[in-house]
Symmetry: C2
Subunit: 412 residues, 2 copies
């Protein structure tokens, strides 16, 4: 099957592909402390308010705010110190009018108190008995956190489909949520094909090259939150590729096949993918460089992606399509933008109108920000990517970018 004649842009291709996919992996329960990078499978609700009790945010005196009204440097208010609130314990007493109590940051406000008068640490140790001179009025709730001010009982604290960062782990721990339901890591099968491809451990004969794609792609899958599974190197023969692809499709949530580099090998991949299940190939050929001969398919509900054999094309296109499918499998509803660095382009980059180009660039730090310098050398060399810090996108609606223009460098 030849590539489709009317090529979609990467954005159109992704939209078309995603509309044909409606899959999501099932949830599993894991420990919160091991949840970094995982994705919530259900909204998480607070089973208690946070803070659980009113707390001081400073070192000072717990007071009734009304007792301090009008106090200033020349006309202080005088309050009777009735005690010290120990850290980690309830105060054990109630504050009456004209009374105050010593309280440290994080301490629990006694009943009756509704504000804290801050004392600068520079003033030395705080007196613990006698009358306390208050030189400044405080408002109700000043220097305190109310119970439930961070989170109220029953509030949704983390939505479903959210990737867990250090902050979320902290928030869950604060609420005593030590286990949570996350999406299982999607299994992603990676198949390398090509008669010329040998494993990296082998010394290639003339004409042979070592397998690169299986390893760049499994690393990318790992970064994206998937569980990669390598199915080895398959020769460019329909029967061999069929068998391996069928196994991978059965065992995995997503299958990625890197084609041999020739047109016939790519057609073979498309044919094998169409045999895997219905509806089969949805997009064949995308108006993008590198990566034009990309195949996007859905076989019996599972995504199958045919990537170009060239290692640079395969990695760039995997970023555009494999990564979003993994996000979708994980149930990430609103994927965050790829992190990028703004930089100034060091030279003119012509491109073909109607085609989207991705160009590898190196970042150079200067006093006035970063420069983006396109990496020299032919674009289909793997080390051109190793020398690069990121990629810049030339959209289909322009015929290139100009030297000095600000660009967004998507970090590799």
């Amino acid at each position: 099957m030849p590539e489709f004649l009317k090529l979609l842009s990467p954005t159109e291709a992704l939209t078309t592909f995603m509309q044909a996919l409606s899959i999501q992996v099932e949830p599993e329960v894991i420990e919160t402390k091991a949840a970094l990078g995982r994705v919530t499978a259900a909204p998480i609700l607070a089973r208690e308010p946070l803070p659980a009790f009113p707390r001081s945010t400073v070192d000072g005196y717990a007071v009734r705010a009304a007792d301090t009204y009008g106090a200033n440097e020349t006309l202080p208010a005088y309050l009777t110190l009735v005690g010290e609130i120990p850290m980690g314990k309830a105060p054990g007493f109630r504050l009456d009018a004209s009374q105050c109590a010593l309280i440290l940051t994080g301490g629990m406000l006694p009943l009756g108190a509704d504000a804290v008068v801050m004392v600068e640490p520079a003033r030395g140790p705080l007196p613990v008995s006698g009358d306390i001179e208050i030189l400044r009025a405080v408002g109700v709730a000043e220097n305190t956190l109310k119970a439930g001010e961070d989170v109220t009982l029953g509030e949704q604290v983390i939505p479903a489909g959210k990737r867990i960062r250090p902050a979320e782990i902290g928030g869950l721990m604060a609420l005593g949520i030590t286990h949570l339901e996350v999406a299982r890591c999607p299994k992603v099968g990676v198949i390398s094909s090509g008669d010329e491809v040998v494993p990296p451990t082998v010394v290639p004969e003339p004409g042979q090259v070592r397998d690169v794609n299986a390893y760049t792609l499994t690393a990318l899958v790992e970064e994206a939150g998937g569980q990669p599974c390598r199915y080895g190197i398959v020769p460019d023969r329909a029967d061999s590729l069929n068998i391996v692809a069928q196994t991978a499709l059965r065992e995995c949530d997503l299958v990625v096949i890197t084609a041999g580099s020739s047109a016939s090998a790519r057609d073979l991949t498309a044919q094998v993918i169409n045999n895997l299940g219905t509806p089969g190939v949805i997009v064949h050929g995308i108006n993008v460089r590198p990566g034009k001969p990309t195949i996007l398919a859905v076989c019996n509900g599972k995504a199958v992606i045919g990537l170009p054999g060239n290692p640079v094309s395969a990695l760039v296109i995997a970023g555009l399509f494999v990564r979003p499918v993994i996000s979708a499998l994980l149930g990430i509803t609103q994927p965050k933008p790829l992190p990028s660095i703004p930089a100034r382009l060091t030279l003119n980059l012509p491109s073909q109108a109607g085609r989207e180009d991705w160009v590898a660039v190196r970042l150079i730090s200067t006093n006035s920000g970063y420069l983006a310098e396109p990496v020299f050398g032919k674009s289909n060399l793997i080390f051109s990517l190793c020398r690069a810090d990121g990629l810049i996108r030339i959209t289909p609606d322009v015929t290139g970018l100009s030297k000095g223009e600000m660009v967004e460098v998507k970090l590799l």
Copy 2:
């Protein structure tokens, strides 16, 4: 020991701290396929050129370029097809004048050939015998990769101190480098202190709070490439904290202590750190919000960092200081900028001149790019960070940022 009176900016504090540190972890040898995110401990040299042989970058005919000179649609050159080059094998013949050979993308050029005439796949299967009509001249090396064009024998392909991304794994595999020397993951000891702090599994009594910092910080350490090690919760007593801190310092490459929240608990941390080894505390107090009471110390050659007890301050400051120390321990010589997203601020943010502020913001996607909306609520609530996508920095030289201004949102 009270906080120093003259507070350094975060940038000054980091410079001072880094100058006092000269430590780096030792290397270890690991498998390349498991090296994602690790950092090279030595420069990596190519033990062979890449490609190892001259290759075609297209499907077409291998030719001597000179035989095609002058050829065009009206006056084609005719070359004798002498064979087909199988994928993954040496051609087994030499190309003489006026000859050509069928070659596929990635195929090895025969001796004598110095260019490839591309044939569009749309033209159907290529003839494999007879005379071939060449309609266009090609230059020497056109549509080919020379041996060594990506990498020459002995060339340094990856410098020391570089974090391994999918592209580097691919490049190493292409060269048959299946093992490499990387920096061991630095062990980072994390100690929580505070009389009010209980483990997340415990239902807190009134006045108690669950430990958050131990878990946010170990997650951050993991993200940064360190190996976290939790030393539990220690009460605010010099003897207890001393013993635990000494053990952590002996066992780890970097120790992070989160102080109790009160001024006295913070002073206790500084005192304990000074007892751990020389020179002890180097920076005590930084002109930053949140995180003013930060302690940076070097004890017998190892870094010790005292973080504020407040979970938000602890996490923000860990990003500014713990992360760079881990990078330094890993031998990363040129840390890449933190990934960020450019966005437009939704409201005015006043700040105090001379102080650096970090403000948590949420990103809102619009047709004209992202908006950065400061997260409401008091800044010292852990869920304010969970609701945020990133942080924006207000530098010490300004008195705030204006609504509508473009800001760089450093992703959390």
